[in-house]
């Protein structure tokens, strides 16, 4: 019996496709954002409020992933920007191949900002690089403030954590100070914004963050 060393990543194929995507995004000046959260944290609602706030003609496109239905794409398509649904048919996360296929019919140099709504899941999307520049993780106040500790791998890769549904804070035992501390523990570098997509509180801060980042990546 012989032991052969093998130094490569298990998700080699995904990483290779993700690297191709990243290179393409870089070449075309596309800033790609991967949004991850539990089901029901408000990813689609945040995207709806975001798209509604953009001036028409802004070069934004959205990919939205779900196991079944194109409900989210229908919701998001109302705002006049290109939207495509990725239906995974059972898979609990998006992978780089799905994104590559979904992007095939769009002109890559016509997109300055690509927002990818991942399948609602705090576990599996973590391991699949989609070629994104930035990861945003949403956590809603109805979920409990210890989610960052329960799913450290996901929060550890976050550039920004959006704490959503803050309008519900009076009705739930969610402790914002603890949530912030737990996020800091698993990812000291993450920025944090508090929003309510229902009342609109904090959405200007989120928009400001988006615009500042998008500006850096524009050609």
């Amino acid at each position: 019996m012989t032991r052969v060393p093998l130094e490569r990543k298990v998700l080699n194929e995904n990483d290779r496709l993700a690297a191709d995507l990243r290179q393409g995004f870089l070449r075309h000046g596309t800033w790609c954002v991967n949004l991850i959260s539990s089901p029901g944290s408000g990813k689609t609602m945040l995207l709806e409020r975001t798209l509604a706030s953009f001036e028409p003609g802004r070069r934004v496109a959205v990919l939205t992933g779900d196991i079944q239905t194109d409900n989210d794409a229908q919701r998001l398509a109302r705002y006049g920007f290109p939207v495509r649904q990725i239906t995974t048919g059972g898979a609990c996360h998006l992978d780089a191949r799905m994104v590559t296929t979904a992007l095939a019919e769009w002109q890559p140099d016509e997109i300055d900002m690509l927002l990818i709504e991942n399948v609602g899941n705090l576990v599996c999307p973590t391991s699949y690089d989609l070629g994104e520049e930035t990861r945003v993780v949403l956590l809603s106040v109805t979920e409990g403030e210890d989610k960052p500790l329960k799913y450290p791998a996901t929060f550890n890769r976050a550039d920004l954590v959006v704490l959503n549904k803050v309008d519900l804070l009076p009705y739930v035992p969610f402790r914002m100070d603890l949530a912030r501390e737990y996020i800091r523990r698993v990812q000291p570098d993450a920025e944090i914004v508090e929003v309510s997509c229902t009342t609109g509180v904090g959405l200007d801060t989120w928009r400001h963050w988006l615009d500042a980042r998008a500006g850096v990546h524009a050609h």
Partner: protein, 105 residues
């Protein structure tokens, strides 16, 4: 993973007996689930018998202030040496092959 096993098997013209992988604490991969799926996929195929050997890699951070590399326990990411909160993940995200054990056929 099984595609990689097949590729190695063909490359060495050998049967692969075991595959070693490194799974980081922050990889998002649950070792038991990985093992369960791996065994289910291997069972009753020409790849059997094939053992999965998992090495767990702990989560480690490095301090940007004093450069100390330390194990993160109980989610404490502050530097144990200088107390700084300015630390970054140094390892623990791995999901990598380490080796394969082959038997020439």
């Amino acid at each position: 993973m099984l595609e990689a096993v097949r590729a190695e098997s063909a490359r060495h013209n050998a049967h692969v007996l075991a595959v070693g992988v490194k799974v980081g604490e922050l990889s998002g991969v649950d070792s038991e689930s990985l093992r369960f799926c791996f065994d289910a996929l291997v069972q009753d195929t020409d790849l059997a018998p094939l053992t999965l050997e998992i090495e767990r890699l702990p989560w480690r951070n490095r301090c940007r202030q004093c450069d100390r590399d330390f194990a993160v326990r109980e989610y404490r990411t502050e530097c144990p040496q200088c107390g700084s909160a300015d630390t970054q993940t140094a390892s623990g995200k791995e999901l990598e092959f380490a080796y394969m054990e082959i038997e020439e056929t």
